[in-house]
Subunit: 137 residues, 4 copies
């Protein structure tokens, strides 16, 4: 049974826009923050730094269901949807923590890439092993 990883984030004033809700682009930053904390949790945060292999996004999607507002405490849930040799797909759900309402869901696909050649390469084995424990495919 795959586990999910959950983290909390409180909406700051700078996250909002003139519609008095979180700007739609910032949900992708919240996804990324959950991914960073997930990598901290599995002990691989240093893998995201300045290495030979980088793991840039190749796709990002978000479906917006209800607005998030200033000072809302958000629960961000990350799941590892799929791992391939060179790519990984993360799923995200963002809830309002207080009410557990789903505000948004989405995904990000990242591909391991050689920093010099910019060609797709294999995800480092250490990362694959860790990610697999969070994935059911």
């Amino acid at each position: 049974m795959p586990q999910s990883f959950k983290t909390l984030y409180r909406v700051s004033w700078a996250d909002t826009d003139a519609a008095q809700i979180v700007h739609f682009s910032n949900f992708f930053r919240f996804f990324e923050r959950a991914e960073e904390e997930f990598y901290m949790h599995i002990g691989l945060i240093d893998q995201l730094g300045d290495k030979e292999i980088i793991i840039p996004r190749v796709e990002a999607f978000c479906q917006y269901r209800k607005p998030a507002k200033f000072n809302d405490l958000l629960e961000i849930e990350l799941t590892v949807e799929e791992i391939k040799e060179k790519a990984v797909k993360y799923g995200f759900k963002i809830y309002k923590n207080e009410t557990k309402e789903l505000l948004a869901n989405g995904y990000v696909v990242a591909v391991a890439t050689n920093k010099q050649t910019l060609k797709a390469t294999q995800i480092p084995k250490e990362i694959v092993e860790k990610l697999k424990t969070f994935c059911n495919k």
Copy 2:
């Protein structure tokens, strides 16, 4: 034959991240900027302000093909992919202006919403008429 709308944007230092490329979330801000300039172009920018009917995004997607870098001049192309009674789907392509390479493509779906009730409502007729001249569906 539907027209597309094109605008230029130069990448600023604040758009980049530590991978020395444009942060993936900022492509959605570039999409939005193109949408704003499109609304200026069709004379409806005031419709995006503080009105009874707002048109928030319900979906956003981006596929990243090649990185954009500091000081790159980007050409952003907007097309009206589909208009329904209450929703509109915009397509976006971002090119490096100098080489015409496609860096990213994506779409955004927006739904007309009553600001008080937060329920979906009809897109104002004035907007629909204008958008239709840019759409082939």
Copy 3:
């Protein structure tokens, strides 16, 4: 003896720029986040929302001493430097939590403003009383 308020913030990838350090504008967002958590701490966060009296910044200053980097855990220290009838000045110091090195310091001056008239007005008494317990002037 005035107290200071301290909070922690971990640098996210989106906070960095192509110099592989936190973008200078984001230190002001870190200041703001500390201010928000300070208002939570003193039980007045609701005062920052959508009220008749807003408290916009009229001045902001930051001195940058050492760069902050991706994944650095920052300690942000807020002090109430000065309270006048209509204005408050907050001081900020940002440390790298691990080493206690001072990375940046600065201040923000905010003035209570009537939302309708946009004229300066008295800071609500409830806020002044709370802030005074954090100030030595």
Copy 4:
């Protein structure tokens, strides 16, 4: 008689916050954008890229006089306030282009820094010569 450099910038939705005005931190991004266009204008934009000598900010200040709003066309005026051997101070004024009202003014001090040692170093002579033609000190 020193010249100033002027550029235009239109406020995007993502620049605003829940007070329905431009977020105070974004004025520093507008300063930076003017600086980038100034460097383009004087033919030195490549000097801001990935070189041995970087020119990070050591101080940034902004005074906010009137709010900027969504879709406002801003005129940003840059002046070279002072050039020292290792440091340069830029002044900025931001006007609402339509009415010529001053919305904000401020400055940024940058110090030439060796990328490896992170120690202050002399500003490249080519840059100093160009900047001097914009400075009266």
